[in-house]
Protein backbone atom coordinates (compact mmCIF):
# COMPACT_ATOMS: atom_id res chain seq x y z
CA UNK A 1 0.00 0.00 0.00
CA UNK A 2 2.78 2.53 0.74
CA UNK A 3 4.12 1.81 -2.76
CA UNK A 4 0.76 2.72 -4.31
CA UNK A 5 0.56 5.88 -2.22
CA UNK A 6 4.08 6.92 -3.15
CA UNK A 7 3.35 6.21 -6.83
CA UNK A 8 0.22 8.35 -6.70
CA UNK A 9 2.02 11.15 -4.91
CA UNK A 10 4.98 11.08 -7.29
CA UNK A 11 5.47 14.39 -9.07
CA UNK A 12 5.00 12.99 -12.57
CA UNK A 13 1.54 11.62 -11.73
CA UNK A 14 0.17 15.14 -11.36
CA UNK A 15 1.04 16.04 -14.93
CA UNK A 16 -2.08 14.08 -15.89
CA UNK A 17 -4.41 16.62 -14.23
CA UNK A 18 -4.08 19.49 -16.75
CA UNK A 19 -4.27 16.96 -19.59
CA UNK A 20 -7.53 15.48 -18.30
CA UNK A 21 -8.92 18.98 -17.77
CA UNK A 22 -8.14 20.23 -21.24
CA UNK A 23 -9.13 17.03 -23.05
CA UNK A 24 -12.46 16.74 -21.23
CA UNK A 25 -13.29 20.42 -21.73
CA UNK A 26 -12.49 20.33 -25.46
CA UNK A 27 -14.35 17.05 -25.89
CA UNK A 28 -17.35 18.48 -24.02
CA UNK A 29 -17.25 21.55 -26.24
CA UNK A 30 -17.49 19.36 -29.34
CA UNK A 31 -20.70 17.81 -28.01
CA UNK A 32 -22.53 20.91 -26.76
CA UNK A 33 -22.73 24.61 -27.41
CA UNK A 34 -23.81 26.05 -24.04
CA UNK A 35 -21.43 26.44 -21.05
CA UNK A 36 -23.44 24.39 -18.51
CA UNK A 37 -23.86 21.27 -20.67
CA UNK A 38 -20.19 21.57 -21.69
CA UNK A 39 -19.09 21.60 -18.03
CA UNK A 40 -21.46 18.75 -17.18
CA UNK A 41 -20.16 16.64 -20.05
CA UNK A 42 -16.55 17.59 -19.25
CA UNK A 43 -17.00 16.48 -15.64
CA UNK A 44 -18.36 13.09 -16.74
CA UNK A 45 -15.55 12.66 -19.28
CA UNK A 46 -12.94 13.58 -16.65
CA UNK A 47 -14.37 11.07 -14.17
CA UNK A 48 -14.54 8.38 -16.86
CA UNK A 49 -10.94 8.97 -17.94
CA UNK A 50 -9.70 9.03 -14.34
CA UNK A 51 -11.45 5.74 -13.54
CA UNK A 52 -10.21 4.16 -16.79
CA UNK A 53 -6.61 5.20 -16.25
CA UNK A 54 -6.86 4.32 -12.56
CA UNK A 55 -7.89 0.81 -13.61
CA UNK A 56 -4.87 0.55 -15.91
CA UNK A 57 -2.68 1.87 -13.09
CA UNK A 58 -3.95 -0.81 -10.70
CA UNK A 59 -3.48 -3.58 -13.29
CA UNK A 60 0.09 -2.43 -14.00
CA UNK A 61 0.78 -2.14 -10.28
CA UNK A 62 -0.48 -5.68 -9.69
CA UNK A 63 1.66 -6.95 -12.58
CA UNK A 64 4.68 -5.15 -11.11
CA UNK A 65 4.23 -7.07 -7.85
CA UNK A 66 5.06 -10.30 -9.67
CA UNK A 67 8.11 -8.97 -11.51
Amino acid sequence: MPIVASSLLAAQTWYIVPLILSVSLVYGATRHELPRPILYHAWHTAVWMTVFMGGIFIVLWLVSLFL
Partner: protein, 136 residues
Protein backbone atom coordinates in the same frame (compact mmCIF):
# COMPACT_ATOMS: atom_id res chain seq x y z
CA UNK B 1 -8.70 27.65 -27.84
CA UNK B 2 -7.37 28.51 -24.37
CA UNK B 3 -7.29 24.84 -23.43
CA UNK B 4 -5.58 23.77 -26.65
CA UNK B 5 -2.98 26.53 -26.78
CA UNK B 6 -2.46 26.29 -23.02
CA UNK B 7 -1.73 22.58 -23.38
CA UNK B 8 0.56 23.20 -26.34
CA UNK B 9 2.62 25.97 -24.75
CA UNK B 10 2.79 24.15 -21.42
CA UNK B 11 4.24 21.15 -23.25
CA UNK B 12 6.61 23.38 -25.20
CA UNK B 13 7.78 25.00 -21.96
CA UNK B 14 8.21 21.60 -20.30
CA UNK B 15 10.48 20.55 -23.15
CA UNK B 16 12.29 23.92 -23.21
CA UNK B 17 11.29 24.43 -26.84
CA UNK B 18 13.07 21.26 -28.00
CA UNK B 19 10.13 18.85 -28.18
CA UNK B 20 8.58 20.33 -31.32
CA UNK B 21 10.87 19.84 -34.30
CA UNK B 22 10.53 18.55 -37.83
CA UNK B 23 12.98 15.83 -38.78
CA UNK B 24 12.61 12.87 -41.10
CA UNK B 25 15.90 11.16 -41.85
CA UNK B 26 17.80 7.96 -41.09
CA UNK B 27 18.83 9.21 -37.65
CA UNK B 28 15.52 10.53 -36.37
CA UNK B 29 12.04 9.97 -37.78
CA UNK B 30 10.01 12.44 -35.77
CA UNK B 31 6.55 10.92 -36.38
CA UNK B 32 5.14 13.02 -33.51
CA UNK B 33 5.56 16.25 -35.47
CA UNK B 34 2.59 15.77 -37.88
CA UNK B 35 0.39 15.37 -34.81
CA UNK B 36 1.92 18.46 -33.20
CA UNK B 37 1.37 20.35 -36.45
CA UNK B 38 -2.36 19.88 -35.91
CA UNK B 39 -2.20 22.84 -33.53
CA UNK B 40 -1.54 25.09 -36.55
CA UNK B 41 0.68 28.17 -36.76
CA UNK B 42 2.44 27.73 -33.39
CA UNK B 43 4.09 24.56 -34.74
CA UNK B 44 5.07 26.00 -38.15
CA UNK B 45 8.43 27.51 -37.00
CA UNK B 46 9.72 23.93 -36.74
CA UNK B 47 9.38 23.56 -40.53
CA UNK B 48 11.25 26.84 -41.06
CA UNK B 49 14.00 25.72 -38.67
CA UNK B 50 14.24 22.39 -40.44
CA UNK B 51 14.66 24.11 -43.82
CA UNK B 52 17.25 26.53 -42.43
CA UNK B 53 19.30 23.76 -40.82
CA UNK B 54 19.09 21.55 -43.93
CA UNK B 55 20.69 24.34 -45.97
CA UNK B 56 23.65 24.32 -43.59
CA UNK B 57 22.81 27.55 -41.77
CA UNK B 58 22.75 27.87 -37.97
CA UNK B 59 19.24 27.60 -36.45
CA UNK B 60 17.26 30.80 -35.81
CA UNK B 61 15.78 32.09 -32.52
CA UNK B 62 18.46 30.44 -30.39
CA UNK B 63 17.61 26.96 -31.64
CA UNK B 64 13.92 27.05 -30.68
CA UNK B 65 12.13 24.17 -32.48
CA UNK B 66 15.31 23.31 -34.38
CA UNK B 67 15.97 19.63 -35.09
CA UNK B 68 18.93 18.01 -33.33
CA UNK B 69 22.22 18.13 -35.25
CA UNK B 70 22.92 14.44 -34.65
CA UNK B 71 22.01 11.50 -32.48
CA UNK B 72 24.42 12.69 -29.80
CA UNK B 73 22.61 15.99 -29.36
CA UNK B 74 19.25 14.23 -29.25
CA UNK B 75 20.59 11.92 -26.56
CA UNK B 76 21.86 14.89 -24.56
CA UNK B 77 18.37 16.47 -24.75
CA UNK B 78 16.88 13.27 -23.39
CA UNK B 79 19.49 13.18 -20.65
CA UNK B 80 19.01 16.83 -19.68
CA UNK B 81 15.23 17.00 -19.87
CA UNK B 82 14.65 13.42 -18.71
CA UNK B 83 10.91 12.69 -18.44
CA UNK B 84 10.07 16.29 -19.40
CA UNK B 85 11.06 15.51 -22.99
CA UNK B 86 8.42 12.79 -23.25
CA UNK B 87 5.85 14.76 -21.27
CA UNK B 88 6.38 17.84 -23.43
CA UNK B 89 6.04 15.72 -26.56
CA UNK B 90 2.85 14.15 -25.18
CA UNK B 91 1.32 17.52 -24.27
CA UNK B 92 2.07 19.08 -27.65
CA UNK B 93 0.83 15.98 -29.51
CA UNK B 94 -2.46 15.96 -27.60
CA UNK B 95 -2.87 19.70 -28.20
CA UNK B 96 -2.51 19.07 -31.94
CA UNK B 97 -5.02 16.22 -31.89
CA UNK B 98 -7.48 18.29 -29.84
CA UNK B 99 -7.19 21.10 -32.38
CA UNK B 100 -8.01 18.66 -35.19
CA UNK B 101 -11.08 17.65 -33.16
CA UNK B 102 -11.99 21.34 -32.74
CA UNK B 103 -11.57 21.94 -36.50
CA UNK B 104 -13.83 18.97 -37.21
CA UNK B 105 -16.37 20.36 -34.73
CA UNK B 106 -16.24 23.79 -36.39
CA UNK B 107 -16.77 22.14 -39.78
CA UNK B 108 -19.47 19.64 -38.86
CA UNK B 109 -21.09 21.18 -35.78
CA UNK B 110 -21.59 19.49 -32.41
CA UNK B 111 -21.66 15.73 -32.51
CA UNK B 112 -25.15 14.39 -31.88
CA UNK B 113 -25.14 12.35 -28.68
CA UNK B 114 -27.09 9.14 -28.36
CA UNK B 115 -30.57 9.84 -26.99
CA UNK B 116 -30.54 8.95 -23.29
CA UNK B 117 -33.11 8.94 -20.55
CA UNK B 118 -34.36 12.49 -19.86
CA UNK B 119 -33.48 12.37 -16.13
CA UNK B 120 -29.86 11.46 -16.93
CA UNK B 121 -29.30 14.25 -19.43
CA UNK B 122 -27.19 17.31 -18.63
CA UNK B 123 -29.00 20.27 -17.02
CA UNK B 124 -30.34 22.72 -19.58
CA UNK B 125 -29.05 20.66 -22.47
CA UNK B 126 -28.97 22.73 -25.62
CA UNK B 127 -30.13 19.82 -27.77
CA UNK B 128 -33.13 19.05 -25.56
CA UNK B 129 -34.06 22.75 -25.73
CA UNK B 130 -33.93 22.61 -29.49
CA UNK B 131 -36.13 19.54 -29.41
CA UNK B 132 -38.66 21.34 -27.16
CA UNK B 133 -38.72 24.29 -29.56
CA UNK B 134 -39.40 22.00 -32.49
CA UNK B 135 -42.23 20.27 -30.64
CA UNK B 136 -43.82 23.63 -29.82
Amino acid sequence: MVCILGTYFFGLALGEGKVVYASWNQVDRRWQYPLQLGVGLPAVPAIVQSMVVRRGNPPLFGGLMAPPRDQEQLSSWHKTLNMRFELGTLYTMIAGLLNILAIWDAYGGPVVSEPGKPERGPPGDDKSKDKDKKEN
